[in-house]
Amino acid sequence: MDYSQFLAMKQEIGLLVVFLVVFLYDVFMPRKGVAADGRAYVKGTSLVAVISFAIFTAACFLCPCIYEPASAFGDMYVTTAVAATIKNILNVGVLIVLIQAMRWADSDIQVVRRGEFYQLLLITLFGMYLMMSGRHFLLFIIGLESASLPLAAMVALDKHRHESTEAAIKYILTACFSSAIFMMGLSFVYGLTGSLYFVDIASALSTQASTGLLTIAIGFVMAGIGFKLSLVPFHLWTGDVYQGAPTSVTSYLSVISKGATAFAFVVVMVQVFGQFYTAAWEWMLYALIILTITVGNLFAIRQRNMKRFLAFSSVSQAGYIMLGVIGVNEMALAALIFYVLVYIFSNLAAFGVIQAIENKTGLVDMDSYRGLCRTNPRLSFCMMLAMFSLAGIPPFAGFFSKFFIFTGALNQGSVAMYVLVLIALINTIISLYYYLLVVKAMYISPDECKVPAFKSATSERIGLVITVAGVIFLGLVSCIYDSILALCGVA
């Protein structure tokens, strides 16, 4: 075996190094800190994790070699400039998540477990890398599972809270079920084509007529990936898990996991089923998008818990992301990547505020946000920007990403796409409604605010500054989108 082919996986190796640094530091450093309940812990784990990950992220950005296309393991693993970019984007997101999570991870309850949090998180990220770069369903499954199973543990991290455990159980059970269905679908695909390589499956499919079994198999595969993306009707875990999980985990779950899976979904659909049989999976996706956006919005309307609210908002956002998949062109792909990027920043800005408030007061209800602008004007300002960006209001980044994804989707020019985009656009009105509800609670409600004026921690502030800057500038600074589009054009 030629071990040099591992060198093709530069980002994965870098990530493993970060993981090892954190792991070794956490395991072997003397436990000098003492938590409130008397248990000892290693000081500085968070800092090590964040700094090493920051170095890794920066290195990935700066090192040109990672953008070179490469493959390994007999083309089971393929990386391209686009994939590298997506990974970089996810890295930025993860970095923000880590920064935002520091305060929570360092809290008295979590401090003894925070090493596990960072390690599990890095492992799931690793799984996502594999998922995005895998060109063989075996590698894909391994990536998918290692991206989702540790997440269950992360969801359960708050182990004394009933909600956390409940969420974890719901997550693990549905995840397992979904992977079973997914693999069932795969087995049919395998039976029909005799290979698990994406390329081979595609070429095998291109020579045979469509059959019912294949369609059902595609449906199963879509359901399996749609589960991770929380597409309706595979989304039902989302609300409960987002609500129950520790907020840092929720934010990770909502942006990173979703972004990675979206990209993987594009790869699978385009590379495996894309050449042939477009009509079938596109119509399936068509239906899924409509359902996802609509149902997600309808559920989001009534939510009072901010995390649960953002869960359903993220369901509908996933629908918008899928508009980039259904477009099947480089513009749509670029729009999708850009959308994910913007979504990461916007959603993390919202979660940053939620975490800041939850860490201080333990309140996550929308009602407790009433009158927030009078006690914590800056936090509420950040939250408002995040909401506007998620709703797609200019001049914030969300507007641009939404506009581009619609532009990308309409590139096809079919009437059906116009109808789809129109439905999506009408749904933006509903989404605007519930995003404005938050703004209304913060700015318009005359009530006395339950959240007292407080000063948030430095890490939270840094996180918020980064995300808000992103929300404001990602769209206005055109070179970001232009470079993504250029990359996709090359790929």
Binding site: G413, L425, I429, V439, Y443, S478, D482
Partner: protein, 499 residues
């Protein structure tokens, strides 16, 4: 160079104002920033007007002047393109005047800093919209102008403000949803050699004939929502009723004009063939708007509702005239936009001032205000006279231009609707005089009102400015008509034989 173009300052100055406001420490500084900024903007637009007329007099015949373009999103061909013609200049002038007067009208607002921040953000959007000739940029500014409305109404409004603010925002966003699909459709379906957002280029090459009808309808409806076209007007009464004074002024005065302007600039200008074919649908709707709004206004008892319905009627006339597709009517439409903008701003300013004193807007609870606050009452009468089309004030010239223009369309359908629209002048008189009679004349209804004071200097300044503008248009209409007309005489309409 970005800053060598005069138009860009219409966006830069509001942005600087935003920065300045953010740094302000007390109300005096805030007022100073607002007044200085809006004065500069007004001065700038007057300068632009003069300069533009000079250029036209010198024989410039390009459809848009001061054109400039800076690449923004290269691959999508999105540019920050600016350029103006007479219509946009008229709108810029209107916006800056209303911003100026609006600043004075909100002299004593609570939480002034946040209020002015949002107000200036809103006007940034408005100015940006009027100077843009790039569909994307235009749309972006359009939405920038919409959303501050929510907070301005929600926070500073009165009455059922939560409901109204939400309804207004959602309905307008609904409009812009249609708009977005229309604009992207135009981007893809234009006959230009490469996909472009550039208005002038699209206008030059035209839009794919198969798609025009669809795109025309969605864009027209999209802008029509903001233009308060029946049956998409219901945000207007509630929204205006709840909005604070300056916001009502800016919204009715300028923002609703975005609708009319957009209808013309995008729907009609880019897709004249579809406009020609489908105008009748919207003519019916706008024709209904005109009388419907007027009739509804007749029985309202809330001052702002009356005015909001009157706006529905007047703005309906704007769209109605645009749809007539001839130079005269369209010129009239723009004059009506100017006129309605100024006079409705005046109305809302006055209503706000009266409300600030009496704390009621119900005309049944007020009366004989002429004795108590003569200045405001006289201004109200003048605004009313402008609204019902008294010669010498702006309403008359605008309406007459519209009616004469519309009557040039000789078929029965157009004739009937023109006459129906004409009827609005009677109904307008009914509701205006009803209000004037109940509110200002007659005996004093509420003895507590006798202690109230008349206008303060900033209120006087604000209203007097508007009245002077209304009278200026009313007395020297040809100046404005000539400013506007050039656009509609322009080559594009002529080329396809519609004019």
């Amino acid at each position: 160079m970005l800053f060598s173009n005069i138009l860009i300052y219409f966006v830069v100055i509001p942005l600087l104002m935003l920065g300045g406001l953010a740094l302000c420490r007390n109300i005096k500084q805030i007022r100073a920033v607002a007044v200085v900024g809006s004065t500069i903007l007004t001065g700038l637009s007057v300068y632009l007007l003069v300069d533009y007329l000079g250029l036209r007099a010198a024989g410039e015949s390009a459809p848009m002047l001061y054109c400039d373009s800076w690449t923004w999103f290269r691959d999508l061909n999105i540019n920050l393109s600016v350029g103006v013609d007479g219509v946009s200049i008229a709108m810029l002038l209107l916006s800056s005047i209303i911003l100026f007067t609006g600043s004075f009208a909100s002299w004593k607002i609570e939480q002034p800093k946040a209020f002015f921040l949002w107000l200036v953000l809103l006007s940034t959007g408005v100015f940006g919209f009027f100077i843009s000739v790039d569909l994307f940029t235009m749309f972006m500014f359009y939405e920038v102008a919409l959303i501050p409305m929510y907070l301005l109404i929600g926070v500073w409004g009165s009455g059922n403000k939560n409901y109204s603010a939400m309804k207004l925002t959602l309905m307008l966003m609904g409009g812009s949803a249609f708009l977005m699909i229309g604009l992207i459709g135009i981007y893809y379906q234009s006959n230009a050699p490469e996909h472009t957002w550039d208005l002038l280029k699209i206008a030059e090459y035209g839009v794919n004939a198969d798609w025009q009808n669809f795109l025309f309808v969605v864009t027209f409806v999209g802008f029509g929502v903001l233009g308060a076209m029946f049956p998409f007007h219901t945000w207007s009464p509630d929204g205006h009723a709840s909005a604070p004074t300056a916001v009502s002024m800016l919204h009715a005065g300028v923002l609703m004009k975005l609708g009319g302007y957009g209808c013309f600039r995008v729907s009609m200008y880019l897709m004249p063939e579809a406009a020609n074919e489908l105008a009748w649908i919207f003519l019916i709707l706008t024709g209904i708007s005109v009388v419907y709004g007027a009739f509804s206004a007749c029985v309202q008892t809330d001052l702002k509702y009356i005015n909001a319905y009157s706006s529905v009627s007047h703005c309906g006339l704007v769209l109605f005239a645009i749809l007539m597709l001839n130079t005269t009517a369209m010129t009239g439409a723009v004059m009506q936009m100017l006129s309605h903008g100024l006079m409705t701003a005046l109305f809302f300013a006055l209503i706000g001032m009266i409300y600030g004193r009496t704390h009621t807007r119900d005309i049944r609870e007020m009366g004989g205000l002429m004795r108590i606050m003569p200045y405001l009452s006289v201004c109200y009468v003048i605004a009313g006279m402008a609204s019902l089309g008294l010669p010498g004030l702006s309403g008359f010239v605008a309406e007459m231009t519209i009616f004469v223009g519309s009557f040039q369309e000789a078929d029965t359908f157009h004739r009937v609707f023109t006459i129906v629209a004409c009827c609005s002048i009677v109904i307008t008189a009914v509701y205006i005089l009803r209000v004037v009679g109940k509110l200002l004349f007659g005996p004093v209804q509420d003895e507590h009102h006798r202690q109230l004071t008349d206008a303060t200097w900033w209120e006087r300044l604000s209203t007097a400015t508007l009245i002077v503008c209304v009278a200026a248009i009313g007395c020297f209409p040809n100046f404005f008509a000539n400013l506007i007309k050039f656009t509609f005489d322009g080559a594009i309409f002529r080329a396809i034989g519609l004019n």
